[in-house]
């Protein structure tokens, strides 16, 4: 038995750290650098130990159900707060505290010289606390509250360098786009509350998550408390929230921009934990989704489509973090697709492994940035000689992402593709087949863009880094790109940064064995298939079973992945920079890329970079319009921001309303005031000041009354 207070302490430790940093350290002890970081790390160590303890106790079958506490009680509108420590939560708390701990250690090095380091760790504490609160919530309103709070922390951390306009804009964009999804989630909550009387008739609470699960299940006497269209609507609302947070199409466009935040933030929030909250949310309400097949189909198709579309965008990005961001969206699409196909265990397993390898990849990108001073891969190259550790660790992460045996990503991704292949879930087999095709295609693209990234960054020769990028920008007269410095010092990152990456790499390599391999029956006391069995035991209602290892699928996905790597090698590693002369550059340059790529003028700078390899043109640019389409992200940003928000909404709709408000609504007010004044002015004309005129008017009035009386008033007074 674990005391309830211990479970609460997991959430309270980072919260305490947040309060201490923001109320004590930042105002009074700001001169001691990194104190806040050490405080948060200490808090997270405690939280991690408690989380592992809870996980172990939960795995042993301990009863971790605690009664809820009343937060707000207004007759029927009673909102409670409580802990829901089911296996999904137990896994999530370990992932969140673990990855957060590693990222904070890394941040000690990465953020060492930043003047806002206390603020940074305060926000990070707030984020970790909110994320833990989110996964621990037993009440849907409580869940929503923390859901919004992680959104807030994400906003604060994306905009951490708030004096960069692009960072401030990206933070705003992230918050607003996720909020569009959150409205769906909120409406689902309101709709659940609306059904309160039906819930109450069965002795259920419409806001208590286990009660909601139960309400979706068919009753012995007939239909469910919550069934049919109502259930589908609730599920779609919840999925809207999840899609916003997890960057699923069409609410994905904030996530690449979110890379404006510090790299450890991207690793923790926009790769490992917060963006996975959407997947967690759908998993949390999986018993509902299972009963709503239409909603499941939507989840599967959106997930599959996102997995593929985001991967295509990852092919052409220059910014290493943006490649990873699209990769994250794509991998989250895999998880969503898995949930939609009914593959509950595989989705969470992929969430679990993805947290490690994607955090590793981001931290690696940060390490590269530390050396090269830029995130633009066109100005990198050849870093493997100076940064052997980073290279090796990134290679592990990349292979795990691509899904190469025997790294963790292989096992989890394979389970998802198997589920799509078998199509035994609740959705139509044709849908499952479509999702299967999308996912396999996405796997090919994943392998390609991952190794494009690795080849561009680590292979070939160094192409000048941030210093050269700034020079080129100056030469072309475009404003200097943000987040680029001219401090290029090609060397391995400090140990405090490499060590967390090493731990993550070990996890990314070995986490797969927690799950499925048939031939590992017992490892460190962990039985084979442990993860799936354990996670699926969370489903008190409904049922999900992970399909066994499937050889044909494994072969297909491995072949596809290797093909992708091979293609990337052919395109990017094959051509030696020395053979890559100016002529090649000229021929490779298509009209579109001149604008979009902003290719550097080699001849002008050739002598300055005599020691450096020339910039390479993008081989994919030969694809012309297709490349432009991808490079401009299918023009979705232009559609959303340029057309819908800026023009249709802001300029025309809001402008018209504002104009009407000033001229029509307020105009009527001013008009009535003006009319009153005019009438007054007119009547004032009668006020001549001539006493005799007044007298004459009085007399005329008297005569009129008299005449009127004589003519018509015969009967008056009788």
């Amino acid at each position: 038995m674990v005391a309830e207070s211990l479970a609460w302490a997991i959430f309270l430790m980072p919260l305490l750290s947040f309060l201490l940093i923001s109320l004590v350290i930042r105002p009074f002890l700001n001169r001691i650098p990194q104190l806040s970081g050490y405080l948060l790390i200490a808090a997270l160590v405690v939280a991690l130990v408690l989380s592992v303890l809870v996980l172990v106790r939960s795995n042993e079958g301990a009863d971790l159900a605690f009664p809820a506490h009343t937060w707000l009680d207004l007759g029927d509108a009673a909102i409670q707060i409580g802990l829901l420590l089911d296996p999904v939560t137990c896994i999530m708390v370990v992932v969140v505290t673990g990855v957060s701990l590693l990222v904070q250690i890394y941040s000690l090095g990465y953020m060492k010289d930043d003047p806002g380091i206390s603020r940074y760790f305060a926000y990070m504490s707030l984020f970790t606390a909110s994320m833990l609160g989110l996964v621990l919530s037993a009440n849907i309103v409580q869940l929503y509250a923390f859901w919004e709070l992680v959104g807030l922390s994400s906003y604060l951390l994306i905009g951490f360098w708030h004096d960069r306009p692009s960072a401030a804009a990206a933070a705003k964009k992230a918050f607003i786009i996720t909020r569009i999804g959150d409205v769906g989630f909120l409406l689902a909550i309101i709709y659940l509350f609306y059904h309160g009387p039906q819930f109450a008739a069965q002795g259920l609470n419409p806001l208590h998550i286990p009660d909601i699960w139960q309400a979706a299940q068919p009753l012995a006497t007939g239909g469910a408390v919550l069934g049919g269209t109502a259930l589908t609507l609730v599920c779609l609302g919840i999925f809207a929230g999840a899609a916003g947070k997890s960057g699923q199409f069409p609410l994905h466009s904030w996530l690449p921009d979110a890379m404006e935040g510090p790299t450890p933030v991207s690793a923790l929030i926009h790769a490992a934990t917060m963006v996975a909250a959407g997947v967690f949310l759908v998993a949390r309400f999986f018993p509902l989704f299972q009963e709503a097949r239409d909603a499941m189909m939507v989840v599967a198709l959106v997930g599959g489509f996102t997995a593929f579309a985001a991967a295509t965008l990852g092919l052409v990005m220059d910014d290493i973090k943006r490649v990873m961001a699209y990769s994250t969206i794509s991998q989250l699409g895999y998880m969503m697709a898995a949930l939609g196909l009914g593959a509950f265990g595989p989705a969470l397993f992929h969430l679990f492994t993805h947290a490690f390898f994607k955090a590793l990849l981001f931290l690696g990108a940060g390490s590269v940035n530390h050396a090269a001073g830029t995130f633009n891969m066109r100005y990198m190259g050849g870093l493997r000689r100076q940064m052997p550790w980073t290279y090796a660790l990134l290679l592990v992460g990349g292979l795990s992402l691509v899904g190469i045996v025997p790294l963790a990503g292989f096992w989890s991704k394979d389970e998802i593709i198997t589920a799509a292949w078998l199509g035994e879930g609740p959705v139509d087999p044709r849908v499952a087949l479509a999702v299967f095709v999308l996912l396999v295609a996405a796997a090919l693209l994943t392998a390609f863009y991952t190794f494009r990234m690795i080849f561009l960054t680590f292979h070939g020769d160094f192409r000048g880094g941030g210093a050269r990028e700034l020079q080129d920008a100056e030469a072309e007269g475009i404003p200097a790109p943000t987040a680029v410095t001219d401090e290029v010092h090609l060397a391995e990152s400090p140990r405090v940064m490499v060590a967390p990456m090493l731990v993550l790499a070990i996890a990314a390599a070995l986490a797969g064995y927690l799950a499925n391999p048939q031939w590992v029956k017992e490892l460190l006391g962990i039985p084979g298939h442990w993860f799936s069995y354990y996670v699926e035991s969370a489903l008190t209602y409904g049922h999900a079973e992970t399909a066994p290892f499937n050889w044909p699928v494994a072969v297909i996905s491995t072949v596809v992945a290797l093909a992708g790597i091979g293609l990337a090698w052919l395109v990017y590693a094959q051509r030696r920079p020395s053979a890559d002369t100016g002529e090649v550059l000229e021929t490779a340059r298509s009209p579109e890329t001149d604008e979009t790529q902003g290719s550097a003028d080699e001849t002008a700078h050739g002598h300055e970079h005599a020691a450096l390899a020339p910039l390479r043109s993008e081989p994919l640019a030969k694809a012309g319009p297709v490349h432009t389409l991808l490079y401009r992200k299918y023009f979705i940003d232009e559609l959303y921001e340029g057309l819908v928000v800026k023009h249709v909404f802001y300029r025309y709709f809001a402008g018209l309303t504002d104009w009407l408000d000033r001229n029509l609504v307020d105009g009527i007010v001013d008009l009535s005031a003006w009319l009153t004044r005019q009438i007054g002015r007119l009547v004032a004309q009668l006020q001549t000041g001539q006493v005799q005129f007044y007298g004459a008017v009085i007399v005329m009035g008297a005569v009129l009354i008299l005449v009127g009386y004589l003519a018509f008033g015969a009967g008056i007074g009788e």
Partner: protein, 513 residues
């Protein structure tokens, strides 16, 4: 006749202080210090009133009653009658809190300081009186009394087109209260024993029923509504608010948005919901329609604003629309009305008061130091004024309904309640929170973030005294956000009775039919 005196002291302390400033206190510094001490004392008194309210089961509805017969002519039973219940006690607390903050926010006033503080204190007294009086005649007196100080504050210490705005405010409100005066006279004349006692009308099966009314009940309902709608304000009688806010000095904006708009909401809940249970259920669809229009229209217009104060003023129109949406929850099926929506509406009054108060205090600080409120001219202030920026950001997030801050609680209660009655309307009003995120974040991005500007290089952050109202309001916003029960359990004691009256009325009518 009872007279414990606590409420009388709370209401009249600011007036006495104003008199004292007029007669005794000399010197600007002395006046300021004296006003500050009085503001603090009144804050403590209002806290005492809030705490003294017995929330237990079976406690009398109106407590701390001060009652003296005033005019006992047979035809005009008016009395000096103060008292608080669960609905008004938090409002008294809000007034005390914001009054104190407004006094500190007036620290930089340099012209005619004595006069300024006299008006400010009189204003506080009038608003306190509105929230505590239980006699219609007294209610009306306080209601009108508040106009003069506010007119003077805007017209004399304002900026921009200040006399225009002050006059607009005055005319709008007087027009509304003219309707209310007619209604009050008609109500008083309606009963067997002519009286202005409000408490009699709040009981189920009150004397105010169709048979004994001097005017049709629905007409009385709309006459009262006209006065409160102007004050709230709701679309389409909101246009005085942006002008008045924009041109008012900081403290007047704080009082205007923080407590005076709440008089409208309070009146709606006290009179329109409390005394006209039949009419409010019958017209609930119209109330919620006006509410939804206010929410969306206000939000859309807010997005276009470039003046910080004007932006907040329009956002107030949007947020006060939620009060009407919450009141619309009484349109649920007969006998099925629950307290969630009304509690949300009442809580929205309090939360919006603190949030907007904080927004105006923060914007006032920025305007005072940066000398501009034009958003495109601002930017990069977060680095120069971290305390003020943090307070403004917290207020902004509370305003857009972030959980953990107070705005969320009232919003979700409003939505919970209203959805039972009018689902489509409620969904439309929920969309307002996306727009709220849009304009609040746009405002924060453009004014606080972005590159630092040369001409703001020597801006100073809030001084310790200036930080006091920021800290107080931030603390109250967070407290209500994390532990709303301390307010809602008070509101609920009054709301429960209103809901009972409505349900009894509805089922009674159904029985007759």
């Amino acid at each position: 006749m009872t007279f414990p005196g606590l409420l009388t002291l709370t209401v009249f302390l600011p007036a006495l202080a104003a008199l004292a400033i007029l007669v005794f206190v000399r010197g600007d510094r002395m006046v300021r210090g004296f006003a500050l001490a009085v503001g603090l004392a009144d804050l403590l008194l209002s806290v005492a009133v809030f705490l003294a309210l017995d929330r237990g089961e079976g406690a009398a509805r109106f407590q701390l009653v001060d009652r003296i017969t005033w005019i006992s002519a047979e035809t005009l039973n008016a009395s000096y009658f103060l008292g608080v219940d669960g609905l008004s006690a938090p409002m008294v607390l809000l007034t005390g809190l914001l009054g104190f903050c407004a006094i500190i926010a007036s620290w930089s006033i340099r012209e005619r300081v004595r006069e300024y503080f006299i008006w400010l204190l009189l204003l506080q007294k009038a608003v306190m009186g509105v929230f505590t009086s239980l006699d219609f005649l007294l209610f009306f007196l306080f209601w009108e009394l508040e106009l003069l100080p506010m007119y003077m504050l805007i017209a004399n210490w304002g900026t921009g087109r200040k006399t225009y705005s002050a006059m607009k405010f005055l005319i709008f409100t007087i027009l509304g209260s003219a309707f209310m005066l007619v209604a009050i006279v008609a109500v008083a004349a309606s009963q067997a024993a002519v009286s202005f006692d409000m408490t009699l009308l709040l009981e189920p099966g009150s004397m105010l029923n169709g048979a004994s009314a001097a005017l049709p009940l629905s007409l009385l309902f709309w006459l009262f509504f006209a006065a409160f709608a102007v004050k709230l304000p709701t679309w389409p009688v909101h246009t005085w608010l942006p002008d008045a806010h924009t041109d008012a000095p900081t403290a007047a904006s704080v009082m205007l948005a923080g407590v005076m708009l709440k008089m409208g909401g309070y009146g709606l809940l006290r009179v329109n919901v409390g005394m006209f249970p039949g009419e409010v259920t019958a017209f609930a669809w119209l109330l919620i329609l006006l509410g939804v229009i206010s929410v969306l229209y206000g939000a859309v217009v807010t997005i276009r604003q470039t003046d910080l104060k004007r932006l907040i003023a329009y956002s107030s129109v949007s947020h006060m629309g939620l009060v009407l949406v919450g009141i619309g929850s009484v349109g649920a099926a007969a006998g099925q009305v629950t307290g969630a929506g009304l509690n949300g509406a009442a809580l929205q009054l309090f939360t919006h008061g603190t949030i907007t108060g904080l927004l105006f205090v923060g914007v006032g600080l920025i305007y005072e130091k940066a000398h501009t409120r034009y958003i495109p001219d601002l930017g990069g202030l977060a680095a120069r004024m971290p305390v003020a920026a943090a307070a403004l950001a917290i207020a902004g997030f509370a305003s857009l309904g972030l959980p953990g801050l107070s705005g969320f609680v009232s919003e979700i209660l409003v939505f919970f309640g209203a959805f039972r009655a009018f689902p489509i309307m409620t969904i439309l009003s929920v969309l307002g929170i996306i727009l709220a995120a849009g304009y609040i974040l746009w405002m924060l991005e453009r004014s606080l973030f972005g590159p630092q500007r040369e001409r703001f290089a020597d801006l100073t952050d809030a001084s310790p005294l200036e930080a006091v109202p920021l800290a107080l309001l931030v603390a109250s916003i967070i407290l209500v956000g994390i532990y709303p029960a301390f307010l809602t359990e008070v509101f609920d004691t009054a709301i429960t009775r209103m809901v009972d009256v409505i349900n009894v009325q509805a089922t009674g009518l159904a029985g007759v039919r």
